[in-house]
Symmetry: C2
Subunit: 391 residues, 2 copies
């Protein structure tokens, strides 16, 4: 089957004047959400798929922006005409979450209550709040029921929460490489990253915007920690191992490695160091420090079983839709065991659930990559969904 890109796309924007009540008890008003859509909404509005994003992603799922070659959407390998999530059949929606830094209202914007930049005053947002804000977007688009909600990692948590908050508004929940809550180790990594940011003197308590600086040191360290947890130990070993840095000025992963140690504590010796520093530097150029805190906190707080005495089976009693879950064998951030907890809770409730544990070497990052078994699974599942409305 030939597949192609969705081509040039443009973000759209919706303004919400009425206040959104948040899980914390606070509320946010006069906010904007940026979104993109791909494909066409059918006549009875039954072919819409909402795709939720994780930490470092956005509403820009697929396609490119006119004149910007390298602006490919983050899930472009999955979404497009003839691709597993086929935009010839589905109307796909990506929404940038509240508090993010890719266009929707976030900490870098003005607080209508004070006239100042929000900074650290931006309200703490949860997965629950994002789901509510997304539901309001769908209201505006006139979509009563989604064919599916899809997400990986933190996006998968949103898909799961959707199925609990709005069980009647969706027919399928597709949650990839996710977990019913963070483990202590997951929280620990988030906390170290946050400490690196918050203790950077350029953070200024979260009000760095008015000082004309960015806590880049902290953001770099935070991103480096993140990257270690996104990759499997194995793939890191295969890709980098103990390979030495390249000759001065060369790019990482190309050129001839040097064969002796430089005996330095501060210079780059190993390719893995070069890779991590490069990822950290790039990230610190565009990502917002307050957004990093907000999103990692949303991850920490996600725990739908909490309101049900920690009982995940009771939690999913209110679910109505069908489920597809997938995990990756080498993912040590959200291991298959975490997905199995969800599958068990769904089976306890006799829900229709498909589950695949995919043997892929790439760790948590696998959910973003084009693995044939993984994409084959999603393709087959979306074909099954498409039959429901084309039949």
């Amino acid at each position: 089957m030939a597949s192609s890109s969705v081509g040039d796309v443009s973000p759209q924007r919706l303004r919400f004047e009425s206040a959104l009540p948040l899980r914390s008890g606070a509320q946010i008003r006069d906010y904007e959400l940026v979104y993109e859509t791909y494909g066409r909404l059918n006549a009875d509005k039954s072919n819409a798929v909402l795709v939720c994003h994780a930490l470092n992603a956005s509403h820009h799922l697929a396609g490119t922006y006119a004149g910007q070659d390298k602006s490919e959407g983050w899930w472009d390998n999955l979404i497009g005409p003839g691709k597993p999530l086929d935009t010839d059949k589905f109307f796909v929606i990506g929404i940038n979450n509240l508090g993010s830094c890719f266009g929707s209202t976030g900490p870098m914007h003005q607080n209508p209550d004070t006239g100042r930049i929000y900074g650290a005053d931006f309200p703490v947002v949860t997965v629950h709040d994002w789901v509510d804000a997304q539901a309001r977007v769908l209201d505006r688009l006139g979509i009563t029921q989604l064919a599916a909600v899809l997400g990986g990692s933190l996006g998968g948590m949103q898909a799961l929460d959707w199925s609990l908050r709005y069980p009647e508004r969706m027919r399928h929940c597709i949650a990839i490489a996710t977990a019913p809550s963070l483990s202590a180790q997951n929280i620990a990594f988030n906390e170290v990253a946050r400490r690196a940011i918050v203790t950077d003197p350029d953070f200024h308590g979260g009000f760095f915007y008015e000082h004309g600086v960015v806590p880049k040191r902290g953001l770099r360290v935070a991103r480096m920690i993140g990257h270690i947890t996104y990759l499997s130990d194995d793939v890191m070993e295969t890709k980098f191992g103990r390979k030495m840095r390249e000759a001065q000025g060369a790019l990482p992963l190309s050129g001839t490695p040097s064969d002796d140690y430089a005996y330095s504590t501060q210079d780059i010796e190993f390719q893995i160091e070069s890779y991590l520093r490069h990822q950290g530097d790039k990230f610190s150029e565009y990502f917002d420090a307050n957004t990093y805190l907000l999103i990692t906190r949303a991850l920490d707080y996600f725990d739908p079983a909490r309101e049900h005495g920690g009982d995940l089976s009771r939690t999913f009693a209110s679910s109505r839709c069908k489920y597809l879950l997938a995990s990756f064998t080498t993912d040590w951030r959200f291991s298959p065991a975490r997905s199995r907890e969800i599958v068990k809770a769904l089976l306890d409730n006799k829900r229709d659930v498909s589950y695949a544990e995919i043997d892929a070497p790439h760790g948590h990052d696998a959910f973003l990559l084009e693995d044939p078994r993984y994409h084959g699974l999603l393709r087959a599942y979306f074909q099954r969904i498409a039959k429901e409305f084309s039949a």
Copy 2:
């Protein structure tokens, strides 16, 4: 068998005026090493055991300092009269490594060549260099051959290197929870920790001493990362899980947990956060930032197979002593697979090697804890060694 503490101990100090050539090509002269001994050296000097330390430890292996209640040595549970490494039979030596911050010459001392504090000018030291420096101490003590060299983690690397550098000077090598080299993931964690320190504005390129400051922010983050890798995912889950923080002012792991989120990105919500911050704070009060860089670099550089084309079996062809290796099932920093690489290389050379994979929940930290199977193993092995000289 009744066991007791070695009681009050005192560190001793040796000065070395002649230069020690280092692996990097540099050398260090007029340096001092601090050490402690426990038990009595027998008449033919055949009962000496050298114990090598890891990152955050020192020559102070066992016992306490007079008048200092909480000054127990870091391996006090293992070393003492009637303990697995029985000081009624063995003469045990602990030496603080060059570049460390517990009394031996390090970056916080004066460089005799310049009259300035070394700071970032302290030469890069390797496991190889530490072993050479330790051998010089033994020369001064008149010990020609050690009954054993023992170490865990980075200490295990020194024990292994001893058996390659000075095969005739030891009869047994006991290497616990160690590896023949760091993996890419191991190096990655070290690198993030180093970046946190080096990019702390209070680091001043390693010359912070003259500015009267300490890069505490970086040290805190470095230590937090370290702690995550020392504990197993499982033990973190059992110990902390998603338990909430205690009421204001209470110490970690005591008191009544609060049962609602505070919805804050910067305050402590979970006990694991409180634990990590506490560990980071403590560490930043006493550990030297340049020492942290030096020691993590020594870990990165350790790779004895490097001079043998990466062939670990060829590397161990020069070994002569008997070996005991032990690893812990839940150690994801230096997993059992890494110890097995060493065992295989020794078996390829038909060496006498004992190996135990101990089912303990504590991760890498297990090597410091008093697990009955682990301590039983060491006790039995040291009893076997004791027979060699008491017979």
